[in-house]
């Protein structure tokens, strides 16, 4: 009744090609953006911003990066953590060694460096597919772990191997309060989401999806697998590198290579799988599931007044979280984004389903 396209006519190609074609969708996204940009800053306290929303937004960006590669181009990667690390350390070294560059340009160049390394490790994808490719990208992860632990130049010869990000100064605007950091991350997340959404609707995104659905057929209709696959690796690594920069500079402030270990790659992979492969919305939903849910589970017993030992809570958190992952994958193998889509279909028929 509420969510229905009846009576909404599209009279131009531009309208027909819009991302959000339904009036209800447009209102919905406007409300969400208003809440994110104005509502949350007015209501949220420091804990919510710094411990939950900022990591959630940054990992959403990372999940979008991986989703472009895995969900849209069908190339499995276990090296997202590595590309994040490359972005983070590239930005750190650029800020340290070329202080003349503005920070925003550092971030951009760091993304490009991550993209270049991504292309390099994407080369095996031209020959191998599926799980074998996953193993090949694992090499990227181990290479990054090794390089940042063993090559002291990358960490500026600090004895402990832990490096500290410089102050976030964007042309005189120093980002230091939680709220400013939140807005910065939100800006990056919105920008990435719009770019990614438009990219996958464009020629290049369609070529990725053709490769994903059937690479031989795609090749026959004139799509060059090399360009398509390597561009997917490049864009994905660029976005992941950007997420790495944010994770290091905005969220952690000081970090060691362990922050971008294989655990990070797996977490991002789970986000994409649980959120929904081939969906930008799914990247956000997956990131919320993986980052916010464990923290919520950890605090839930205390909030409802049940006193449990810290160890018990922590073990329960692992068990419930694991069970939920399994359950979600059984209920809806296509992820949370698909659930949302089903919900929308139901809403169209509500209240008279047939």
């Amino acid at each position: 009744m509420i969510y229905r396209e009846t009576g909404q006519f599209r009279t131009s190609y531009a309208e027909d090609q819009a991302i959000f074609r339904l009036r209800q969708d447009k209102i919905g996204i406007a409300v969400i953006l208003a809440i994110a940009w104005v509502g949350i800053p007015l209501l949220a306290d420091e804990y919510l911003l710094r411990a939950i929303l900022i990591p959630f937004l940054i990992l959403s960006v990372g999940a979008i990066g991986l989703n472009l590669l895995l969900g849209y181009c069908g190339q499995i990667s276990l090296g997202t953590g590595a590309f994040m690390a490359i972005g983070a350390y590239a930005a750190y070294n650029l800020a340290l060694r070329v202080p003349a560059l503005p920070l925003l340009l550092d971030f951009f160049l760091a993304g490009l460096i991550a993209a270049a390394v991504g292309v390099l490790f994407g080369l095996p994808s031209l020959r191998i597919k599926g799980l074998y490719l996953a193993v090949a990208t694992l090499a990227a992860q181990f290479f990054a772990d090794w390089a940042f632990l063993r090559v002291p130049w990358f960490t500026n010869y600090t004895p402990s191997g832990s490096v500290t990000a410089p102050a976030l100064d964007f042309f005189g605007w120093v980002v230091d309060t939680p709220l400013e950091k939140y807005w910065l991350c939100l800006a990056f997340a919105c920008l990435t989401a719009i770019l990614a959404k438009n990219l996958v609707r464009s020629r290049i995104g369609r070529s990725w999806m053709a490769i994903r659905d059937m690479d031989i057929a795609a090749e026959i209709i004139g799509i060059r697998p090399m360009t398509a696959k390597l561009s997917a690796f490049a864009v994905s690594s660029f976005v992941a590198g950007g997420a790495g920069v944010l994770w290091a500079f905005v969220h952690l402030g000081s970090w060691e290579p362990l922050a971008f270990s294989i655990d990070m790659s797996f977490r991002l992979l789970f986000m994409v799988i649980i959120g929904g492969m081939g969906s930008i919305l799914g990247s956000f939903l997956g990131a919320a599931f993986i980052t916010v849910l464990p923290i919520f589970l950890n605090q839930a017993p205390a909030l409802v007044g049940i006193q449990l030992s810290t160890a018990m809570v922590s073990h329960l958190e692992f068990m419930i979280f694991g069970a939920l992952i399994v359950l979600f994958l059984i209920w809806e193998p296509h992820g949370l984004a698909r659930l949302w889509q089903i919900g929308k279909e139901k809403m169209r028929l509500w209240p008279f389903p047939y």
């Binding site: 949220a44 004895p159 919520f296 919900g343 139901k346």
Partner: protein
């Protein structure tokens, strides 16, 4: 499906509402946040430490009604030794009650991350026997308190000891087997410096987290046959290292662990084979000190103990007790200095800087023999830098050396240089000390 959707939306809304809800401030109590790890690869070492802290605080609440007449409210938060969860815990606990008094993350990685945050939030960071070594310079690291000794002090003490027992280190080989993280890397600069001074051959072998795979490291040790192996491990890495040493036939009495690699959970899994293994001791083990009697009387007899009764007095348990005692002494000093009963982080920092434990005070607290006197100052946030060597005899730890003090004349300039470099990088103006 519709029901599920609605339920999940409701659950999500409730989650956000609950997460943002703040409990009302409790009057007349101070808030003691405690970052612990009772699960994961480091739990065998994290649990006794956490129990020590919890029991000591419970004892003070039961015996004295808190510190300075104010109840202490302790809340634990599980970090699992992971930096991002540690940061989340810190954010969660820092504003609770009248504000957190101080944090002790028991993880070098979390310490590094929090070092950036505590000056802004004005909460001291007590890192007893760990943390950034250069944070001993209180002029730059105004909010860090690496009490009782840093890793640089630890490395210096170990070298002093082995130089003494082997009668000179010229031409000797020393190998460091370290946890490949900021924690394990901390002692390397000092060990390298000493290698030049004493003329020994130094080699460092990293072990990746969590440290259950060390075959390669120990095969290398079998080849090179170093005179001494220093172990800078934590959690399962320590017991694995001792087992691997047995496997390659490396004598345990030539192995020395740092104080985090010389406790019961490290040697017990290796059984009889661990006999002879030595390590640094910040303090003795054992439960026959007056403070333990009070803990057993007020906490365990009341059935409120955090752990098992027989685990009271283990090395890491005692370290937890000392950690809590130092923090509460800083609170007491802060109460005295500010005249306030309920103190916050900024007050407690003042308390730390003026913290002085005299022999009489230690006796009063029931810690005689457990800790040595210490005096923290604006310039020196370490307070004391002494340790003894103890050896595992198969049943218990036995001291094999007297207290050894780290060489300040060598370490202090090094600390100041590193701190100055940090200050320059972060644009910090060092405080002027009287």
């Amino acid at each position: 499906m519709r029901f599920q959707l609605r339920a999940s939306i409701l659950a999500g809304g409730a989650a956000i509402a609950l997460l943002s809800a703040q409990p009302p401030a409790v009057a007349e109590s101070i808030f003691y946040p405690h970052l612990v790890y009772r699960s994961g690869a480091y739990a065998p070492n994290g649990i006794p430490f956490a129990n020590g802290v919890a029991d000591y605080v419970a004892m003070i609440n039961a015996r004295d009604g808190g510190v300075g007449g104010v109840k202490i409210e302790l809340e634990e938060c599980e970090t699992g030794y992971a930096t991002d969860r540690g940061v989340e815990c810190y954010e969660r606990l820092k504003t609770k009650g009248p504000g957190a008094i101080a944090f002790s993350p028991l993880s070098t990685g979390i310490t590094f991350a929090l070092t950036e945050k505590v000056p802004i939030d004005k909460i001291p960071l007590q890192t007893m026997g760990y943390g950034r070594s250069e944070s001993a310079d209180g002029r730059v690291f105004q909010w860090n308190f690496p009490l009782l000794g840093t890793y640089w002090s630890a490395a210096d003490i170990l070298i002093q000891h082995v130089a003494k027992v082997s009668g000179g280190l010229k031409g000797k080989k020393i190998t460091l087997v370290y946890h490949d993280s900021p924690y394990g890397k901390e002692p390397i600069p000092v060990l390298q410096d000493h290698a030049q001074k004493h003329g020994y051959i130094f080699e460092a072998i990293p072990v990746t987290h969590p440290g259950v795979e060390q075959k390669a490291a120990w095969l290398k040790i079998r080849q090179t046959r170093p005179d001494f192996v220093f172990l800078w491990g934590w959690g399962v890495m320590n017991s694995t290292a001792i087992k691997e040493a047995v496997a390659v036939g490396y004598p345990r009495n030539q192995m020395y662990g740092v104080w985090w690699a010389a406790a019961e959970p490290d040697v017990r899994p290796a059984g009889e084979d661990a006999k002879g293994y030595q390590g640094l001791a910040l303090h003795p083990a054992g439960a026959d000190y007056p403070v333990h009697k009070d803990i057993l009387k007020y906490v365990y007899d009341a059935g409120k103990g955090a752990g098992k009764r027989e685990e009271v007095g283990e090395v890491l348990y005692n370290r937890g007790v000392i950690d809590a005692m130092l923090k509460l002494e800083a609170v007491r000093t802060a109460q005295k200095l500010t005249g306030k009963k309920v103190v916050n982080g900024a007050d407690v920092r003042l308390g730390y800087e003026n913290l002085e434990l005299t022999a009489e005070r230690i006796k009063e607290l029931g810690f005689e023999g457990l800790v040595t006197p210490l005096k923290v100052s604006c310039r020196d946030h370490e307070g004391a830098r002494k340790a003894r060597i103890h050896q595992w005899d198969g049943q218990k730890w036995v001291f094999v050396s007297d207290w050894i003090e780290a060489d300040t004349s060598y370490l202090r300039p090094k600390v100041e240089a590193a701190a100055a470099a940090y200050a320059k990088e972060k644009n910090i103006t060092p405080a002027t000390c009287p």
